[in-house]
Point group: C2
Chain length 669, copies 2
C-alpha cells in the first residue's frame, strides 16, 4: 500500500473549508440513522477479505470475470440472507448493495444476481395473485430459485406491442406453449439470464381460444434445478462483451414449444380460466407505476455517478500540478486554472441538485402511489411526463459530466485504474435502459403539447405545468433582474415558449394535411427540445426550493456553501441554454457577460470548499476504486502500485518476444 | 457467416440514391490512383488469413491481447518491408496501415509498433545529424532495433519545461548520465514502451558543465539486443488497461544512472562538444513543425472516426424498425423518425467537412513547410493557432458524434460487437494526446487576443484572422439574409465579438492590478470560448469554400448532394451556437424558427441519399468491424453469430455454477 500520509495539497484544501463535512455527510446520507446504517453496512461488506480483489478485474477475460463475479454475488447473497434474518433488509439496504454505492465497491461492473432481487421478486409481488406469491415468493426470497425478467427482444425494445414472443393457451393440457418465432423475437439483454438464472418472468403476447389478448408475464423454468442444464426447447447464453456492466451476465433466450402450466401466468391483473376464457385487466395504467418507480430511482443513481466522478477529478485536481499561470512561479494545482474549475464545479453542483430533486420526486412518487392504491389516477400523467424527461436529462447530463471529469484528468483519466471508464460505462447505460432518452422526451412532449392546448382553452393546469398558464397571460418576460428567483421564472417562461413552438409546429403541419401522428413526427426535434426545457425548468425550480429548504435546516456555515452551489447551478444552467433565453427574453450582450462573470465568481467562491464538498459525499475509497481519487491523494504512488499488479509485468520479457518479435527483427540479418 | 443476401431495406435505400457512390468514393479516396492503391492494399492485407481473428479480441485478457497484437504487428511489419522493397511506402500507405482505416481492420485497439514508425524513425530523421542518421536510420528502418518516443512523464505532460528527467554530461567518459530522479519523473504513456521497444528517444533536461541547457533528445537502449532483458538501471513495464488503445503496450520507464555515449544525443539543432561545451539551437521554433504536422493529421483522423460511426449507425437505422409513427402502420425504419435523422445526418456532414478541411489544412501545412525551410517563419504563429483550435474542436465534436451515433442504436450500440466502444475509445483519446484540448484552445486564444490588440491599433491582419479587421469596421452585422455566405460571415462576426470580450476581460483585470498572466487565467473560460468560435468560423468558411469547389468538379448529381451536405452543416453549426448569434446579431424568435425548419428540410432532402452517402465512404466491412454496420445489413444474424463465439457459451453450464451458485442456492435446504 502507498504511504498513509495524506498528500499535503489535499491537507491544505481541507484546512481552508468553511463548513463541517460531517454535517453535510449526514444530510447526504439522509439523516443520522441512515448514516449509521451506511457505516455499518460498509463495515460488514468491505472488511470481508473474501470480497476484496487482489487483481484489478480489468485484467480478467470475460469468462474469468463472470466466474469471479458470480462467486462474489453469492457471498453478497449469503449476507443478504443474514440481514433478512435479522430484519435489516429495507429498500435502502438493497439499493446500497445492488446499486452504484456499496455494490460498486464489490462488483463494479455489475452483479449477475441483481435482476433476481430487483425485477424477478418484485414482479411476482406486483403481478402475482396471493396464491402465486405463496407458491413462488419464499423460494425466490431464499434464492432456492434464481430468476430474471425477460421482456426486451433482439428486434424489439421500447415499443412493447411489437414484441414477437407468444404464449398460446392449450386448454387440453391447461398449459401455455411459449415460442420465440424468429431470431428477432429472441429475448435479449436480461441480466443474469446467460448462465445464472434458472427461472425467468417471460413477457409474451397472449393468445387464448385462438384470439390475441395482449401482453402477459409468465414464469418459465429455464434450467434444471440440479444440473443447471438448459431444459428442452430453451436456447440460452451470454450476449457477449459490452461497453460497461461487464459482469451482469446479460443473456439471450430462444423458446421453442416450451410448455408451462396455467398457473405460471402471473394473474393479479388479468386472468386466463382453465377453459381458456380471458378476463381482461381492470386498469391498464397500473403497470405505469413500476416504470415510474424505476425512473425515479434512476435519477438518484445519476447523482451518485456524478458524485463519484467529481470526487475523483476534484481530488486529483488538487494534487496535480501543471502549466504555470505566472511563468516565474512553480506549476500550480490544476484546480487553480479557471478553465478547470468550470469543468469540475458544475458537476459537483449537479450531483447535489440531482440528489435533492431525486429525493423530492421520490416523495412525490410515494404520495402518488398512495393515491393510485385508492383509485385516484389524476396526477399519473403529470408524474409520468415528469419522470420521463428527468430520467432523460439527468442521465444525459450525468454521462456528459462523467466524461468532462475524466477529460479534466488528462491522460491519467484514460487509464482503467482511474475508474472513469467503468463509471462512464455504468452511467451512459442509463441513457438507454428503462426507456431510451429520446423516446422519453417524446413521451413528455406529447403530454406538454396536450396541456398547452388545454391552457389555450383557458383551463387551469396542474402544478408542474402551471407555468404555461402564467406565460400565456404575460407574453413578455420583463422582470429579469438576475435574482435566482427570476432565473427560475425565466426558465419556466422559456420552457413555455418552447412548448408553444412545438405546439404551433404540429398545428401547422396538421393544417398542411398531415395526420396528427405524422405532424408530431415531423415536429420531433421541436418536441424533444420542449421536453428538455420543461425538465430543466423543473430542475431549476427544484434546486431553488429544495436547497433553500435544506439551508434553513443546517448550520449557517453549511447554508452559505449550499447557496453558492445553488447560484452556480442556476447560472450555469441558464448559460447552457442562453440561446433559448436570448430568443424569448430581451437580454443584451452585456447581460450575458454579467452572467458569465457571475459564474466565474461562483467558481471562485466554491474553490476553497471544493475538496471538502466532495469529501462530504463520503464515498468510501473502495466505492471510488480510483488511484486518482483516493482520500489520501497519493496519486502517483497509487498509479505506480497499480501497474505492479498488471500480469504483463510479472515477467521482464514476454514470450511473444521470442515467438514473434525476435524472428521479425532478425529476419534480414 | 450470415447469408450473403442484402437486407431488403438497405437494397431499397440504395435504389433511391440520386448520385453514383463510386464517384464519391473516388473523390473521398483522393482520386483514381489513390483509390486503386487503397483497393490493392486492402487485398494484400485483408485477404491474408494470418491477419484474421477467429475470436473477437474483446474476449481476450490484457496479456493475451498483447501477445495476439504483437504477432499481427510483426506480420504487418514484414509486409511493410516488402512494400518498401518494391518502393511502395509512401506516407499514405503508412497512414492507412498504422492508422484508423486499414490498420484498424487488423489491430483495432492499436499497434505496439506504431510509435516506432511514426515517432522514433521520424525523430531521428528530423533531429539527428547526417552522421547520426547514417548510424541509426537503416537499423531502425529494417526493424533491427525497435524504438519509441519517451517524453511525457507520470507527473508532467503538456508543460515541457516541467519535465524532470535529466541528462548530465560527463566529459571524463564522454557520456550522458540519465536519471528519472523521482516517481513523478518516470516516463509514462509511450506506445510500445512496455515490452516491445528495445530503444527509445528519451527527452530530458540537459546539463553540461553543471549548467542547465534546456531539453534535448537522447537515443537510449532499453533492452538487450538478444535476450530483450531490461538493461541495468532500466525499470520498465506496461502501464495497464485503458479505455481504448488497448493493445498499444503503453509503457513506463524509470532510468537510474543510465549512461549513453555523447553521440546518442540527437544533435541536428543543438550540440554538445566532447569537452561539454554547449552550442544552442539557432531557431527554437523548428520543433513546432512536427507538432503541427501531427495535429493536421489528427483532423483527418477525426473525419475517419465520424465516417465509421455514421456508417454503422445509418445502416442500422435503415434496417431497424421501431415505434410506429402512424399507430395503424407497421413499425417504420427508425431513420424515418426526424429525431433520429438529427442524430445521424449532422455526423455524416461533419465527416465530410472535417475531411475536406483536414485536406485543406494539410496543403496549407505543406506550403508553410516549404516557407520554413527557406527561413520564412511569418505564417507560423497563425498556422499554429489554427491547428491548435481545429485539433481541439474536431476531436471533441468527433468524440461526441461517435457517442451520438452509438446512442442512436439503442442497447445494441452498447455491445462491443457494434464496435462503437472501440471507435469511441480511439476517438476520445485524441482530445487528450498531442496537446490536451483546453490547453490547445488557450494557445489559440493567446494568439487571437494578441492580434485583436494589433487590429485595434489599425494593423491589417493575416488571412485567417482578417475578419477581425472587418468586424472592427462594422460594429453591427446587418446583412443576415440566411444565405450560406451570410452564415459564414455571421460566424466570423460572432467570433470577432467573442475575441473582443476575451480581450476586454483581460484588459479589465489588468486594470484591476492583475499581472497579464493572472488576468489571462481569470479570463480562461472567455479565452477558450473565443478560440472555439474562431475554429468554428474557420470550419464554416472552409466548408463553404471547399465543398463548393468540389461541387464544381463533380457531376451535377453529386454536386447537388454536396450542396445539401453543406447547407445542413452550416445551419446545424449555427443552431448549435445560436446563443452567440443572438447575442451579437439582431435575430428574432422567428428567424430562429426559420433556421430550425430549414434544418428539418435539409434532413428531409438528405434522407433518400443517406445510406448511399455512407456507402460512398467506402469503408471495408473489416474496417467497420460492426455487426450493426456491415454492408449487407444482416444485423440480427450477425449479432447472433457473434454470441456463438463467446467463450462463455462454449459450455451450457459454467463451472461457477457448481462451485458457487449451487451451494448458495441449496444452502438452506
Amino acid at each position: 500500500m502507498p504511504s498513509k500520509e495524506v498528500n499535503p495539497d489535499l491537507l491544505k484544501e481541507r484546512h481552508t473549508a468553511t463548513f463541517d463535512p460531517h454535517e453535510f455527510a449526514v444530510f447526504w446520507a439522509g439523516g443520522e440513522e441512515r448514516y449509521k446504517e451506511k457505516k455499518s453496512l460498509e463495515k460488514m461488506f468491505l472488511e470481508d477479505p473474501a470480497l476484496k480483489d487482489d487483481l484489478p478485474i480489468s485484467y480478467l477475460s470475460h469468462k474469468e470475470l463472470y466466474e469471479h463475479s458470480l462467486r462474489k454475488a453469492c457471498i453478497i447473497g449469503e449476507k443478504i440472507r443474514k440481514l433478512r434474518a435479522e430484519g435489516e433488509d429495507g429498500v435502502d439496504t438493497y439499493n446500497a448493495l445492488l446499486g452504484g454505492s456499496l455494490g460498486a465497491a464489490i462488483l463494479k461492473e455489475g452483479n449477475p444476481l441483481t435482476l433476481h432481487y430487483v425485477m424477478f421478486v418484485p414482479t411476482i409481488m406486483g403481478q402475482g395473485t396471493m396464491d402465486q406469491q405463496v407458491e413462488w415468493l419464499s423460494k425466490a426470497w431464499d434464492c432456492e430459485i434464481i430468476g430474471t425478467y425477460a421482456q426486451t427482444e433482439l428486434g424489439h425494445g421500447t415499443f412493447l406491442r411489437g414484441l414477437e414472443t407468444r404464449a398460446d393457451y392449450d386448454a387440453r393440457t391447461q398449459e401455455f406453449v411459449i415460442n420465440t418465432p424468429s431470431l428477432s423475437a429472441y429475448k435479449w439483454w436480461p441480466g443474469g439470464l446467460g448462465h445464472t438464472a434458472n427461472h425467468a418472468v417471460v413477457v409474451a403476447q397472449l393468445y387464448t381460444k385462438g384470439e390475441f389478448r395482449g401482453l402477459a408475464p409468465f414464469i418459465v423454468q429455464l434450467r434444471h434445478s440440479d444440473t443447471h442444464e438448459p431444459l428442452p426447447g430453451i436456447d440460452i447464453g451470454d450476449i457477449g462483451t459490452k461497453l460497461g456492466m461487464k459482469s451482469v451476465n446479460n443473456g439471450y433466450l430462444g423458446l421453442k414449444n416450451v410448455r408451462v402450466p396455467l398457473n405460471n401466468m402471473l394473474m393479479k391483473n388479468q386472468q386466463v380460466l382453465p377453459d381458456g376464457t380471458y378476463v381482461a385487466p381492470k386498469n391498464s395504467v397500473l403497470t405505469y407505476g413500476t416504470m415510474m418507480f424505476v425512473r425515479c430511482a434512476l435519477i438518484r443513481d445519476t447523482a451518485q455517478s456524478l458524485a463519484k466522478a467529481s470526487t475523483i477529478a476534484t481530488r486529483y485536481s488538487a494534487v496535480r500540478r501543471q502549466s504555470p499561470i505566472d511563468p516565474n512561479q512553480p506549476e500550480p494545482q490544476i484546480m487553480d486554472h479557471t478553465t478547470q474549475q468550470l469543468k469540475l464545479f458544475p458537476q459537483i453542483a449537479k450531483s447535489i441538485v440531482f440528489k435533492t430533486t431525486g429525493d423530492g420526486i421520490w416523495n412525490m412518487y410515494n404520495v402518488l402511489s398512495g393515491e393510485i392504491e385508492q383509485g385516484n389516477l389524476d396526477r399519473l400523467p403529470e408524474m409520468h411526463a415528469l419522470s420521463c424527461c428527468l430520467k432523460a436529462i439527468c442521465s444525459a447530463d450525468a454521462a456528459a459530466g462523467v466524461e468532462t471529469c475524466r477529460l479534466s484528468c488528462g491522460g491519467h483519466g484514460y487509464m482503467d485504474c482511474s475508474n472513469f471508464p467503468t463509471i462512464y460505462g455504468m452511467t451512459t447505460a442509463v441513457c438507454t435502459y428503462e426507456g431510451e432518452n429520446t423516446v422519453m422526451l417524446l413521451q413528455t412532449a406529447r403530454y406538454l403539447v396536450k396541456v398547452y392546448g388545454q391552457a389555450l382553452n383557458g383551463e387551469k393546469l396542474v402544478p408542474t405545468v402551471a407555468y404555461i398558464n402564467d406565460a400565456l397571460k404575460e407574453r413578455q418576460f420583463v422582470n429579469f433582474d438576475g435574482s435566482l428567483e427570476s432565473i427560475v421564472k425565466a426558465f419556466q417562461f422559456v420552457a413555455a415558449n418552447k412548448i408553444r413552438i412545438a405546439y404551433e409546429q404540429i398545428e401547422q403541419r396538421r393544417r398542411q394535411g398531415h395526420s396528427t401522428e405524422m405532424a408530431a413526427n415531423l415536429s420531433g426535434t421541436f418536441l424533444t427540445a420542449a421536453a428538455d426545457l420543461h425538465g430543466r425548468a423543473f430542475l431549476a425550480e427544484s434546486a431553488y426550493t429544495e436547497l433553500l429548504a435544506v439551508s434553513r435546516q443546517v448550520s449557517p456555515a453549511l447554508a452559505d456553501v449550499l447557496k453558492v452551489v445553488l447560484e452556480l447551478y442556476l447560472v450555469d444552467a441558464c448559460l447552457n441554454r442562453i440561446g433559448d433565453f436570448l430568443r424569448f427574453i430581451d437580454l443584451t450582450d452585456k447581460d450575458v457577460t454579467t452572467l458569465e462573470i457571475r459564474l466565474q465568481n461562483c467558481l471562485k467562491q466554491l474553490r476553497p470548499n471544493a475538496v471538502t464538498l466532495v469529501d462530504s459525499f463520503d464515498l468510501h475509497d473502495r466505492v471510488l476504486d480510483s488511484v486518482l481519487g483516493a482520500y489520501d491523494g497519493n496519486v502517483y504512488e497509487r498509479i505506480f502500485e497499480s501497474t505492479k499488479k498488471n500480469p504483463l509485468n510479472k515477467e521482464p520479457v514476454n514470450e511473444a518476444f521470442h515467438k514473434y518479435l525476435k524472428p521479425f527483427m532478425k529476419a534480414h540479418l
